[in-house]
């Protein structure tokens, strides 16, 4: 039922200390830092990558020159699912949705002349996260940088791949083992690295609602924490380095309440379920990306406005970093011009509006606080249900999560078709518009160049050493050892991503999707 007006009555069940409190203090509803943007703006971090590593390196340096404050690497699909560029499965996909990485040589070109010790680098990589992170570590070691200086994030969230994103390789159990290997390695050597970015973004893009986005993300988070504890880590060894990733969609106030609710919930989960005593473990730090699914292919310039509103929700919701989508992304990969407008959108919010001058400016609003509490309650119902099913892995295996998402996605589309929900330019205010801007074309020659580069490296490297490293890795897999170091050793000898992934495939098997 729609409620049109909120009054002090709607705050009767809201307790200031337990539900709202102060920024920088548990339960962190109002933000994870006490000064929030008054001291430092959110990190403006545009997800980018296409073609060869040399080309993406140029885009990265351009973005840094334009005032971007962190990098976010998009990898192509072959890299994400552990195939080399010359695998026949990959024809037409090399360098398409991201940069192509076959070996450490590509990583060296990708970060050429970029001081990785001074920036933070986020990498959207999941089933092959351990290999790509190994390459980043190898790059740092070759530059004689202390690993403790590296800042950044590996997405490394496999559970959402099974329900929403699809770049899985292995079945859940061995995939989870690789994640815990990264937790262990980084808790010792890379104290500034966010080992995982537990992602609701893709769950929402797949069609979930806001409550499901938070619920399934937290349920994934709970599963990762349980596994890490089972492996012998202590909660406060790794929980401070867990990070999250959410969507910001068009339901403006609901999104703000969602971000606040997510922080409250995580703080309570870490405190009550997992008995953390470290405040840093309880702080949910998250990245936000504006919703891609809310962009329209019709009258695409209107997407600039949509992105602005979604970005504003994220800022009012207290995000730590933000990617704003480009207006042409319902049509193709974004052009440099479209990316610049998207970045400028954040800069205008950050520097012209005075919005960052007040911490959690909507705190105390009858509507926002009531909505925040309502989302918390609805999410808790889902979490209880997932607990009763035996946890998130079980809930995914039975298809429950997938079905919940699909049902909502279908409902959204039917509502649009029936004009119950409105989308400007799609089901109302429709006009045939001429497209008066150009779209990005990924150079088809890239694929050939990338394959030629791969073949040259395979010829020039010390193949005996490579085989030795791969054999050593295989032994480590069979022994159930932590695989981080053996993989670092292999990538340093220019073993390819597919060679390494194939060792794992052989031992772990491959996951095939069940259709629900």
């Amino acid at each position: 039922m729609k409620k049109e007006l909120y009054t002090p009555q709607d705050l009767e069940s809201v307790d200031f200390e337990n539900d709202i409190g102060y920024p920088g203090k548990a339960p962190y509803t109002r933000g994870v830092y006490d000064a929030m943007y008054t001291k430092q703006l959110w990190t403006m971090r545009q997800y980018a990558g296409f073609g060869t590593s040399t080309e993406t390196n140029k885009r990265f340096r351009y973005l840094l020159e334009q005032g971007q404050t962190g990098l976010s690497v998009a990898f192509d699909l072959p890299t994400q699912i552990g195939y080399d560029s010359d695998n026949p499965m990959c024809k037409g996909e090399v360098g398409k949705v991201g940069v192509s990485i076959d070996t450490l040589a590509d990583m060296e070109d990708l970060f050429r002349d970029i001081p990785i010790e001074n920036i933070s680098t986020s990498m959207t990589i999941n089933s092959t996260a351990i290999i790509v992170l190994a390459m980043y570590i190898a790059l740092a070691e070759k530059r004689n940088l202390p690993l403790a200086s590296l800042r950044g994030t590996t997405q490394n969230d496999i559970l959402k791949e099974y329900v929403a994103r699809g770049t899985y390789i292995f079945p859940p159990q061995p995939s989870l083992k690789l994640i815990v290997d990264i937790f262990q390695y980084c808790s010792e050597k890379m104290p500034k690295w966010n080992t995982i970015s537990i992602s609701g973004y893709h769950i929402r893009e797949a069609g979930s609602n806001a409550v499901q986005e938070v619920a399934f993300t937290l349920a994934d988070g709970i599963e990762y924490v349980k596994l890490a504890l089972e492996s012998g880590l202590q909660i406060d060894d790794f929980a401070p380095r867990l990070s999250f990733f959410f969507n910001s969609s068009m339901n403006f106030f609901e999104e703000i309440a969602k971000f606040r609710a997510a922080r409250w919930l995580w703080s309570n989960i870490i405190t009550n379920r997992f008995h953390s005593t470290n405040e840093k473990s309880k702080r949910m730090r998250f990245h936000t990306q504006t919703s891609g699914a809310s962009l329209t292919a019709q009258q695409p310039e209107n997407n600039i406005i949509r992105v602005t509103l979604a970005a504003l929700s994220a800022v009012l919701g207290g995000t730590q970093s933000l990617h704003t989508n480009s207006f042409d992304e319902a049509l193709s990969l974004p052009t440099e011009k479209a990316v610049r407008i998207a970045l400028r959108t954040q800069q205008i919010l950050g520097y012209e509006t005075n919005i960052p001058n007040t911490i959690d400016p909507l705190g105390g609003s009858y509507f926002i606080e009531n909505k925040t509490k309502e989302i918390c309650k609805d999410v808790e119902k889902y979490l209880q249900k997932i607990d009763e099913m035996g946890g998130m892995v079980r809930a995914i295996e039975t298809g429950y999560i997938q079905k919940e998402i699909q049902d909502h996605a279908y409902k959204l589309h039917v509502n649009l078709d029936a004009k119950i929900d409105k989308q400007v330019g799609v089901n109302c205010f429709v006009e045939e518009s001429e497209q008066d801007f150009t779209l990005l074309k990924v150079n088809p020659k890239n694929e050939h160049e990338q394959i030629a580069k791969l073949h040259k490296i395979k010829k020039d490297r010390d193949n005996e050493k490579v085989q030795h490293c791969l054999a050593h890795l295989q032994n480590a897999v069979q022994a159930g050892d932590n695989l981080m170091q053996p993989i670092i050793d292999a990538v340093k000898e220019y073993a390819t991503i597919e060679e390494i992934a194939n060792i794992l495939r052989k031992e772990y098997g491959e996951y095939t999707e069940s259709i629900f």
Binding site: L77, P78, Q80, I81, M89, C90, K91, G92, E93, K96, V97, E161, A164, R165, G166, T167, E205, A206, G207, A293, L295, T296, A297, Q298, A330, L331, S332, L333, Q406, A409, Y410, H413, V414, L416, D417, Q423, V426, N427, Q435, L439, V442, T512, E513, I515
Partner: protein, 135 residues
């Protein structure tokens, strides 16, 4: 009673964005068609083979990875090799306008960008499905 229209919804390429494919599969089912959805990461060859085995009238392709200009011609080639030229092929996803003439030329009859109406797709299939079947 005439035979219901049989549709294969297939996702070629390596991308995992299956929201659109699943919505279409369900909408066509709700419209009384028989729908087979085979999941993500299908090769052109496996798509043609499934189309043959399942004796479908319509093939709906969904792709968001940008590899359509390579993969769609491959699929059309494999359909032809299996003598399946009668199948009505349609596609949806992130497909730039500039690529549409080429895709139409190779035999893809309709291309649906994000935001397309389910009703439009259902009526297009009903109007264009090969004559032997009609519900």
């Amino acid at each position: 009673m005439s035979k219901p229209i049989r549709v294969l919804i297939a996702k070629p390429g390596l991308d995992g964005h299956d929201r659109g494919a699943k919505i279409i599969a369900r909408a066509l089912k709700d419209a009384g068609m028989e729908v087979i959805y085979t999941g993500i990461k299908q090769t052109p060859e496996s798509i043609a083979r499934t189309a043959l085995q399942e004796d479908v009238d319509v093939l709906g392709l969904s792709i968001l990875s940008g590899a359509h200009n390579h993969l769609f011609p491959e699929i059309m080639k494999h359909l032809h090799q299996h003598k399946l030229d009668h199948i009505l092929v349609i596609a949806g996803g992130i497909i730039p306008k500039d690529d549409i003439p080429f895709l139409k030329e190779i035999g893809i009859k309709a291309i649906y960008p994000p935001g397309s109406s389910l009703e439009d797709i259902v009526s297009f299939i009903r109007a264009n499905v090969p004559q032997s079947t009609n519900d």
